[in-house]
Every structure is written in C-alpha cells, then in structure tokens.
C-alpha cells in the first residue's frame, strides 16, 4: 500500500545517532544506517519525483535485535504535497517487490513518518538495498507567476540537498533532472556539476539524521502543467453484458498565468508562441473500450483521434481551445466495456474488478476524485475492497431505464492522485439472476396494460341513444355468424363420416362403422337443434333470413339422408348383398344428388 503522502527522502537508516533520539517509533529499534544513497530528483514534468536508492545496513553489534522494518521520513515543508510513496526492494531474481508502508508518528518530531516492513528481517551487520519513490504534486511552482504569450515558463523547486531520514547517512549523491538545459540558478552546495539538463550534487559524507539543507533550482520548464481540478468517474454495471464508464473532467492549466491578451494569429503563426500552453493530450483507455464519446456542455467535440492498439485504445484529445496558464476547461469522456473482462461471478456472488481511476494523461495530477459505481438493481451485500485509503460517502440510489426501486451507487472520494494510483478496486455483491427478468416483464406488463385499456375502452358503450335498427342488424349478423359456424361444423361431420366409410370399406370393421354412425347421429341432432334455436331467435327479431335458414335446414336433412344411404349401400357391398357395378352406379347417383344439395346450401349461405 502506498501512503498517500510520503516524503521522498525517507529511507531508513538508523545509526548510532538513533539511540539518543527522543521518542523513537519502537522502544528497542535496532540501529540502522544508510550506507549509500543515490537520490534522483526528476523535475522534468510538473510533478516532482524523487527516487532514492538506499543501501540500508544494520549497524548494531551482534547482540542487537534484528530489524524487521525501517522508517521513512518526510520533510515538514514538502510532506503536504505528497501524492504517492512507494518502497521497493530488488529481490535475488531482479524482481521488485513493493513493500508494505504504513504511516506512524514519532514523538517530538514534525513531519510525517512511515514504517516499511522488510521482506526479511535484517540481521546485524547485513545490508539490504531498497528503492524509495515519492511523488509530490504542485511542488514545482512557476516563477515568474505571470508570463505573456511569447515568454517561456520558468519554475522553481525548493527541496532538500540531503536525504531526510531518521538514520544517519554515510555517503549520498543527488542528481537533479530538469526539463531543459536552460537553468537560471541553482543552489551550489558542495560544488555541483552541471551537464545540459542534469545537476549532480555530492557525494556528501556522514550526514546526520534529519539533516536538511535548502535546495532551490530555477529553470525553464515547458512541459504541460495540466491538473485535473476535479473529476467524477461513473461506472455503470449492467448484467446484460456491458459496463459503461463516464468521466466528467475539469482541467486546469496550473503553470504561469497568462498575462495580457491571447493572440490567435501569433499562436498559429509562430511555433514558439505559447510554448507552455497545452494543445492536446493523450488519454489511454482500456483495450476493449467501444463507443467512445468526447463531449462537453455544447455538444460533441470532434477534434479527437482514436487509435486502437493491441493492449489499449489511445485517444488524442484536443480541447476546443489551447490551455494557457490559469485557463480551465471541462469535458466528458465515456466508453463502453464488455463485462466479461471485469465482472466475475460464482452462482449468485458477483465481483467487479475495475480501475478506480484510469489514465487521463501522462503525468496526471487529480486534485479531487469522486468515483460512483452503479450496480444493477437488487444487488445486496455490497463490500468494497480498495487498494488504498478512500473516503466513502453513504450509498445513493440511481434511477434510470426500467428501474422500480433504484440502483445502489457506491460513492468514494479521494484527493491528490497521480499515475501510481491507477489500481483496481474490487466490489463484491450478490444478485439473483431471476431479477434480470424484471426488466422485460416490466415492459410486458406496461404493454399489456395498454392493450387491456384498449379492450375496455372499445367495449364501453358511450352512445347517448340506442339505435334500434342498427342494434337489430347487429344481432341478426351475430346470429347468422353462429349459424354459419354450426353449418360448417356439420359439413365437417359429413366429411368425417365419409372417411370412416371408406376406411370401413377396406377394413370391414362393422363395429367402428356403427359407432361412427351413432356419433354422427347424435352430433347432427345437437347441431340441428342449435340451428333451430337460432332460427327461432331470428324469427323473434323479425328477420326474413329465418326463412332461408329453414330452407337450408330442409336441404340439410336431405343431405343427411343421402349420406346415410350411401353408408348403408357400402355395408351391403361389404356384406355381399349388392353387386359392385350396381353399387358404383348408386354411389354416383347419390354423390351427384349430394353435390347438388350442397351447392344449394352454399348458395343460400352466401346470401345470408
């Protein structure tokens, strides 16, 4: 874990001077010494990065305790600016392991202290080499604070010549890397060497613990002094397979403020004009980002270029106007990610592993970050594991498409972030899959309510008077329709009976024939009686169609007779009572008559 603000200089090394130090972190702290320190101050960007390679030695006698941890200290002047502190140790196989860093207090000393756990306790007389890295934001100040468009930007950094540590240092060197070879002045302690944009100080010998010597360098620095003054990152998780990320960014140029007016002509014409202004920057998005949009309050901004690489998507972002000192802009960038890369599940348990903050631009500084993670509706038992300390606001509810009770939102805040804070945050929650059905079912319910309303509305009779003629017509039409259905059913019966007869011809099964004949009789009777009923109702309505219906009934009776007759004939044929050619002749006669009658019935039905 990195401590958010750790001074650069701390490296442990505690030596003989440790004992008389009042209020040490541990009562029996083993004496450690910084054998050799090589500090590198990287001032080439707007962040001050101090890396110290320290060889830590245990200077106690054989009887002293082993050192399990060591202390890292920060100067009181710079410690407020710390954004990141990391300690690494190079293992035997050249691998670097980050060590655990925790903040502690030292009585009687101002500034901040951090305890770093060593991977293996240090024996008396042994050495270990560690690398302490600290990043400070806003430590490099522009000086002069206001420049015109054509001037160059000069900045000042004030630090420490020595390595600030609770332990004495035997030898140390310091190298300062500046942004450009153009250096106004720098403090000259111990006759430093200067070569282009590098300053070499040292070696300094036998410096006591907590030694400080003011170091100041004033040089030209035209690197982009871009700061994100505030940023809101919204991550919306959908179980339909997508994670939508949106970043709402407020940018500010924190370099030397622009004095005077801005001349666009000069800016475009001369390349050296506005050398410290920011024209564009590059944002690196996750590799599978799709549907990237870049917009602000006015609308979509098209001065952007998207480049899809193998392991990332690079977007070159050009704000609507170049940023000069003190100028601000605001934009929104959003993209979609497939959920299978970041969401994991085991049954009902889900785990979301996403970056808490992503790359906005190189050497980024974010003054204030708010992260909102929106989980699907019905997510319960939410647990958050963050890689570093964040402050969590109470969970909110977010309402969006097809929501009934709101989606839980996890809100987290943090200040002063740099690139090293791009780490994963893990969120655990439970969600039952059945709840996913709630969305389509909600839509179905909505539409069914709509259609039911239509059903009811059309059925409601809101006419003021009743029109008797129309009513009667409607009633008659209804009855006729029923008659038609019944008649067609009856005809169907005849067909069915015909089929059974032909089957009987082949199978010679008398019982089936008789049973089917019986069923025909009963059904026919039922249908005929129904038609008669309808006919009587028609008569009650006073329609002349009832005559036609009665005519049709008579014809139908004749058809039935013929059908039965043909069945009887077939029976005779099978029994051998009738000769085949006679049977065929009779059959033809019967079928002819039947056709006639059926066509007549059809004709009547059409006229109904």
């Amino acid at each position: 874990m990195e401590a958010p603000a750790v001074p650069l200089l701390p490296l442990l090394l505690l030596l003989v001077a440790w004992a008389p130090e009042p209020g040490s972190a541990s009562a029996e702290a083993p004496p450690l010494v910084n054998e050799e320190v090589r500090r590198t101050l990287d001032l080439s960007s707007h962040l001050a990065k101090v890396t110290a390679e320290v060889v830590l030695a245990h200077a106690g006698g054989d009887s002293s305790a082993r050192a399990a941890s060591f202390l890292v200290a920060l100067e009181p002047e710079l410690e407020a600016r710390l954004a990141h502190l990391g300690v690494q140790v190079t293992g035997v196989d050249e691998e670097t392991n980050s060590l655990d860093v925790r903040e502690t207090q030292i009585k009687g000393k101002s500034g901040r202290f951090f305890t770093v756990q060593l991977p293996a306790a240090l024996d008396p007389g042994a050495e270990v080499s560690v690398v302490v890295e600290a990043v400070y934001t806003h430590a490099i100040q522009p000086y002069p604070t206001q420049i015109t468009q054509s001037e160059k930007q000069f900045v000042v950094f004030e630090g420490n010549h020595y390595f600030y540590s609770p332990y004495p240092t035997k030898t140390q060197t310091m190298r300062v890397k500046l942004a450009s070879p153009n250096v106004e002045n720098y403090t000259k302690l111990g006759n430093p060497m200067r070569h282009e944009n590098l300053l070499d100080y040292g070696p300094f010998h036998d410096t006591p613990a907590y030694s400080q010597d003011s170091f100041r360098v004033h040089s030209e620095n035209n690197s982009p002094f871009l700061t994100v003054s505030s940023m809101t990152r919204v991550v919306e998780v959908s179980h339909w397979g997508n994670i939508a990320v949106e970043e709402n960014v407020n940018l500010k140029h924190t370099g030397a403020v622009l004095k005077g007016s801005f001349s666009r002509y000069e800016y475009d014409r001369w390349t050296h004009s506005g050398s410290s202004s920011i024209r564009s920057f590059k944002t690196i998005l996750p590799a599978s980002a799709q549907d990237v949009y870049y917009r602000d309050e006015i609308g979509s901004i098209y001065t952007r270029h998207l480049l899809t690489l193998d392991d990332s998507v690079e977007m070159e972002v050009k704000p609507r106007f170049p940023l000069f000192g003190g100028w601000k802009t605001h934009y929104i960038i959003g993209y979609n990610l497939p959920s299978y890369e970041y969401l994991y599940n085991l049954g009902d348990q889900y785990m979301l592993k996403m970056r808490l903050v992503d790359h906005v631009f190189d050497e980024q500084v974010i003054d204030s970050l708010t992260v909102k993670i929106i989980l699907p509706e019905g997510a319960r038992n939410i647990q958050v594991d963050s890689p570093y300390a964040i402050s969590r606001a109470p969970d909110e509810l977010h309402y969006t498409y097809l929501d009934t009770c709101g989606r839980p939102v996890i809100v987290a805040r943090k200040e002063n972030l740099v690139e090293q804070h791009i780490r994963d945050i893990v969120v655990h929650y439970t969600f039952s899959r059945v709840r996913m059905l709630q969305e389509p079912l909600l839509l179905v319910a909505a539409f069914s309510i709509l259609l039911f309303t239509v059903v009811i509305c059309v059925r409601l009779d809101v006419s003021i008077t009743k029109d008797p003629a129309a009513e009667a017509r409607m009633k008659v039409a209804c009855l006729i329709e029923q008659v038609l259905t019944l008649v067609s059913k009856r005809l169907g019966l005849y067909h069915h009976f015909d089929k059974t007869v032909s089957r009987y011809k082949q199978s010679r099964d008398v019982s089936t024939l008789s049973s089917s004949r019986k069923s025909l009789e009963t059904e026919h009777k039922a249908l005929t009686s129904e038609v008669a009923l309808l006919q009587s109702r028609l008569k009650a309505e006073g329609s002349n169609l009832c005559d036609k219906v009665s005519e049709m009934q008579k014809l139908d009776a004749q058809v039935k007779e013929l059908v039965l007759k043909s069945a009887v004939e077939t029976e005779w044929l099978v029994a051998g009572k009738l000769k085949k050619d006679m049977y065929v002749e009779n059959k033809q006669l019967i079928s002819g008559k039947r056709q006639e009658l059926v066509s007549k019935i059809d004709h009547i039905l059409h006229t109904l």
Binding site: H239, N242, T400, E439, A446, F447, S448, L451
Partner: protein, 71 residues
C-alpha cells in the same frame, strides 16, 4: 461473467420478435375492429393481447440492448 444472451444476436432477435409481435398486434386490432357487441369473446381477446404484449415487451428490451442502452 458473460451475458446470458450473446450480444451478436441482438439485431436478429429484435427483428424476428418485431415481426411476430406485429402479427399479434395487428390480429388484435383487426379483431377489435371487426367484432360487434355480440360476437366478441373475451378469452380470445385477452389471449391475443397478452401474447402481443409479451412479444412486444421482449422485443423492446432487445431493441434497447441492441442500441447499447443496456438497461
């Protein structure tokens, strides 16, 4: 974790469901228009409207997911 429905098929499913649902909805409305006060059958009406709303509900969801609204 992958989505239960493959996103590649969203457009096809949307169109198919739309076709089916158009059929049901139009059948429903034709039935409403042609039936009179005495020839209507509530069960048939309810059945058609239920099926129509079912298909249209799923179709709208698929449509929303297809246009990356991702409800």
């Amino acid at each position: 974790y992958t989505s239960p429905v493959n996103p590649v098929i969203f457009p096809h499913v949307t169109v198919v469901l739309l076709a089916v649902d158009m059929f049901f909805t139009s059948w429903f409305f034709v039935y409403k228009v042609t039936s009179t006060k005495y020839t209507w059958d509530i069960y048939k009406e309810l059945l058609i409207s239920l099926e129509a709303s079912l298909f249209i509900g799923f179709q709208v969801l698929c449509l929303l997911l297809w246009v990356t609204v991702y409800v």
